[in-house]
């Protein structure tokens, strides 16, 4: 999952630094992720993992770091399993 997220981030994140220079915990907004790029990232993640972000996950915190994105995707997948 980490690799797929990094691939998407490289594709749509528009970051001024290479994605492999960014640690899992690093703040993506400080690294230059814009609001629009985070929306594109959200749409890309939905497509890649075949999930849909519910309103509770549609916020900055969900995309604050690569680790945060992983946690969000895992939470959505778990919600889907439980449902």
């Amino acid at each position: 999952m980490n690799e797929a997220i990094r691939e998407l981030l490289a594709k749509v994140g528009g970051l001024p630094v290479a994605v492999d220079q960014i640690s899992d915990e690093e703040d993506l907004y400080n690294a230059g992720l814009s609001s629009f790029a985070s929306v594109q990232l959200m749409l890309g993640i939905e497509d890649t993992f075949d999930i849909e972000f519910s309103d509770q996950f549609l916020n900055r915190k969900s995309f604050a770091s690569i680790k945060a994105i992983e946690r969000t995707v895992e939470a959505i997948l778990k919600n889907n399993e439980d449902a």
Partner: protein, 302 residues
């Protein structure tokens, strides 16, 4: 909804607004304009000594600038573009035949280089960027323009073409957030002086679609937008008559507005919805201006 239609009908009957046959597109009477002019003078008396540079743009803006602004990413449903006939004589004949037959004649219209201004400050940022480095103390601008938003409604407080008066501050983050806070206080004071009940609340712009839901949440989480709300046609859903917006470095980055040391400017704007404020005054004090409370008339007309 009933309260909205009823208020609109009363405004038509009193001759304050004139029906054009399109929801949200109204003529204004001299009395209505007099209220707006008086309120703008009150704004001038409040903010005039700050020394803002006064700029007035027409209600249309450069389409290329509009495209670069990203407006279509966020609010495609509200935008209005200007199209014109650009054909030859034969095309003209076809156009007239099409119109005579009652068919859709607009399909052949071509987009011009102008779009309708969606917010008074949109044309400002590239103009300031073109001037070169921002002075160390930033910039302050006074704008007013008719704006267009495609949202037909029977609510007289939601018009498709309306005037927005704005002050825009460019500077360091602290400068622009202080400016915004100052105007939240000034705006509240002005409205109370003209007898209008207000409250300030966190708000969001009407971003389009589900992706827009994330932008809404982001905007609210970061307290980027506040509105000054006044009940007009509903007490449960009061109307935003002013907004106070902190754009962070969004427009600074977008247009390359920088200080001499290369740092990007932050921006904030405060907007007055002039028609909404006039409507709030008519709603709270009655449709007969002569009968408004003396204190309110004194504040507006001296």
């Amino acid at each position: 909804m009933d309260a909205q239609i009823s208020f609109l009908d009363r405004l038509f009957s009193a001759g304050l607004l004139l029906d054009t046959g399109v929801d949200g597109l109204y003529g204004r009477s001299g009395r209505f304009e007099d209220v707006i002019a008086a309120f703008e003078r009150l704004i001038d008396r409040t903010g005039g000594s700050d020394g803002a540079e006064v700029i007035r743009f027409p209600p249309g803006m450069n389409r290329a600038i509009f495209e670069k602004s990203g407006y279509m990413k966020s609010f495609p449903q509200l935008a209005g573009t200007i199209h014109s006939f650009c054909g030859c004589e034969l095309d003209h004949v076809n156009l007239i035949q099409c119109m005579d037959a009652g068919k859709d004649w607009t399909k052949e219209q071509q987009a011009t280089d102008i779009v309708l201004t969606p917010a008074a400050c949109y044309p400002l940022y590239p103009v300031v960027a073109q001037r070169g480095d921002l002075p160390a103390d930033g910039g302050l601008f006074d704008l007013q323009s008719y704006c267009f938003r495609h949202e037909p409604s029977k609510d007289p407080a939601r018009q498709q073409m309306f005037r927005m008066r704005e002050y825009v501050r460019m500077g360091k983050a602290d400068d622009v957030t202080e400016f915004r806070q100052l105007w939240i206080e000034r705006g509240t004071d002005i409205m109370q002086r003209v007898g209008l009940p207000v409250h300030i609340d966190v708000a969001n712009d009407p971003f389009f679609g589900r992706a827009g839901r994330m932008l809404v949440n982001n905007q609210r989480d970061q307290n980027l937008k506040f509105e000054l709300l006044i009940p007009i046609t509903s007490t449960e859903n009061p109307t935003a008559c002013m907004s106070f917006n902190y754009h962070q470095d969004h427009f600074g980055t977008k247009w390359g507005i920088q200080f001499a040391d290369g740092t990007t400017a932050h921006t904030a704007c405060v907007g007055f919805g002039l028609e909404r404020i006039a409507l709030a005054l008519f709603h709270h004090h009655g449709l007969d201006i002569e009968a408004w409370p003396e204190q309110v008339r004194q504040e507006l007309w001296g």
